[in-house]
Symmetry: C2
Subunit: 335 residues, 2 copies
DNA sequence: CTGCAACGTCGTAAATGGTAGCCATAAGTC
DNA sequence: GACTTATGGCTACCATTTACGACGTTGCAG
């Protein structure tokens, strides 16, 4: 492989000039520039990234840590991050934290050890303190899906409470009063925020929150199955079910269908996240839009702006969820 | 940050010895080893990966190029690759090719330029010749989802024709004779292979293949929608629809439901891929299992075995699809 | 008992391929 | 003639890996 020396020699210029041409910060005469460019092309020269990284102490790589890679949730986010970063010629190194504190920390260390210039983190298990301390280190971080007031400008997040509120208010406005809620895991921040929103909406309509109508799911389809079976078997009355994410809705609906219940005839459902599949499930899911892909993109832009000093980029930190009304919820008793 | 030099000094040994302790390939006396280890711990020493890469000319990173990151398909694959590689302390750099030749080639160059030790490629648009040539380069590659006879040992793939055959044979065995087929994009290898399997099954049952009953979709939900509308509007008779992937089935079913058609009462469906959602769609999808996550894992293991010389790893190149019978297909006329 | 080869252990120093800053020089500009 | 701009030529530096060689110990043959 050709080195920068070979290029310099072939172009008849010095090392320094070649370096100047590549890092177009200083002035180089047009003619010499062309000579150098020609030499680089002839030799099929590619700067050795290892050497560049060593000398400049930066790798042009961004570590992205997500909770999981499968499931409908993170794909769109990763896609946006990759494309935004790639356009800036940065590359993304991925790691998975599995919503487990030890694994999350381990992954952060791993990414740091790999010399990432910055980190995009979607972590759930790790403490606020850990993240605050981490943010004071040499490697900049951005948080997706999490709000920590001390480092709020590094947080890209959704107003989950508002989303939870919107979902429940929708069924309340339709006339439902007996509303079951399938929450996400209590250890997850967003799950609790969504639940708070749910409670807030109930309170606003003077409906008392019954813990017995709230079931803690796992954010997966199967959690919806288990929750629905539990709820149905508990012989409690309810005409609507609000789920903390769409995957659980789909699980829950599948149980209803199996038991001969009509959706939304007998039971109304509202989901959360607006995953791509939501519109192809039958009935089409009424849900709360979670612009996760935009948040991914924003995290990438934040980095580009703040780390690589690419200004003229506008970043928004907080995203507001919106209700997407489709067909899974309607007035009670209106079969 | 402490350097290897600091460690050497503190341990009272030379640079080389410290290096030897880290890369446990050569012999170091137990006593010195302990001294070095102690010094490293005291200084919280972490080798600088940039320098390691420069000196060793290897980065411990694997480039993974996939067609897309969103959708239900690649997530599980990426998850397996990441976990297998991470366990071996390698990291994965991702790139997206978008099923476009130019972008795929660009991504390969990008990954190569980043000094990846090896590449895992799931590419569709690029030619066999390109890949054969690439495989002769310095950087080893593994292909997922593609078979090229010249480099067959580097291919990890599914017998797609068999899968297509299985899907169609299933509805044939149920008694269907008028069978529509929604194919994937003709430019994709796997789409054509699946279609071949379909034709083979038809022939076996002496049913003539009608091009008018075959519609080219795009492998996405919306393609299923478009295909179904087209098929339904064409006023042709058919009692079963075989789709080249599950996403299109879900789109197709949503059209049927909207038009008041019962599934599988009026129309039977068979999908392909067995995506996680397949069992939560109503009716639960009868489909062909595509062990994409296992193939991802296998690709990673192949690399570990062949590049990093980690023997005692068994690798399988070809995976066989299996029919998963659930509820979306039944006998014709049996409502 | 001795001589020496083999071996394990460790240090020295040379790559590895760049970046970046400094200063000198030459040519062009006002 | 002072000033600016383009370029060359050095050199220090980045943190490792690795070839090569030195040194001491051991075991074995003569």
């Amino acid at each position: 492989m050709a080195t920068i020396y070979d290029v310099a020699e072939r172009a008849g210029v010095s090392l320094a000039t070649v370096s100047r041409v590549m890092n177009k910060n200083t002035n180089v005469g047009e003619k010499t520039k062309q000579k150098v460019l020609a030499a680089m092309a002839e030799l099929d020269y590619r700067p050795n990234t290892f050497a560049q990284s060593l000398a400049s102490n930066s790798s042009n790589s961004i570590g992205v840590l997500v909770s999981q890679l499968d499931g409908p949730y993170y794909g769109p986010m990763m896609a946006e991050i990759e494309s935004a970063l790639r356009a800036a010629n940065k590359h993304v190194i991925i790691a998975v934290g599995h919503s487990d504190a030890a694994q999350e920390i381990d992954s952060v260390e791993f990414l740091l050890g790999r010399g990432c210039d910055a980190l995009i983190l979607d972590v759930e298990a790790v403490s606020d303190e850990y993240l605050i301390e981490l943010s004071q280190g040499a490697t900049p971080i951005v948080l997706i899906n999490r709000y920590i007031s001390e480092i709020s400008e590094r947080c890209i997040y959704l107003d989950n409470e508002l989303g939870g509120y919107l979902a429940t208010r929708h069924v309340l406005e339709l006339g439902h009063r007996d509303i079951a809620y399938v929450s996400g895991p209590k250890r997850k921040h967003d799950a609790n925020e969504r639940l708070e929103g749910h409670k807030k909406a109930l309170a606003e309509f003077d409906v008392v929150y019954k813990p017995s109508l709230c079931f803690e799911g796992d954010y997966k389809e199967d959690g919806g199955v288990v929750a629905m079976e539990h709820l149905l078997d508990s012989a409690q009355r309810f005409s609507a079910v609000v789920c903390a994410n769409d995957q659980m809705v789909s699980g829950a609906i599948s149980v209803c269908l199996e038991r001969g219940l009509k959706v939304p005839g007998d039971l109304s459902f509202v989901g959360y996240d607006n995953i791509p599949f939501a519109r192809y499930i039958s009935p089409k899911l009424t849900t709360v839009n979670n612009p996760i892909h935009e948040m991914g993109k924003m995290a990438a832009l934040w980095l580009l702006k703040n780390i690589y000093k690419n200004d003229q980029l506008e970043v928004t930190n907080v995203f507001v969820p919106e209700l997407v009304v489709r067909g899974s919820a309607r007035r009670p008793g209106n079969k």
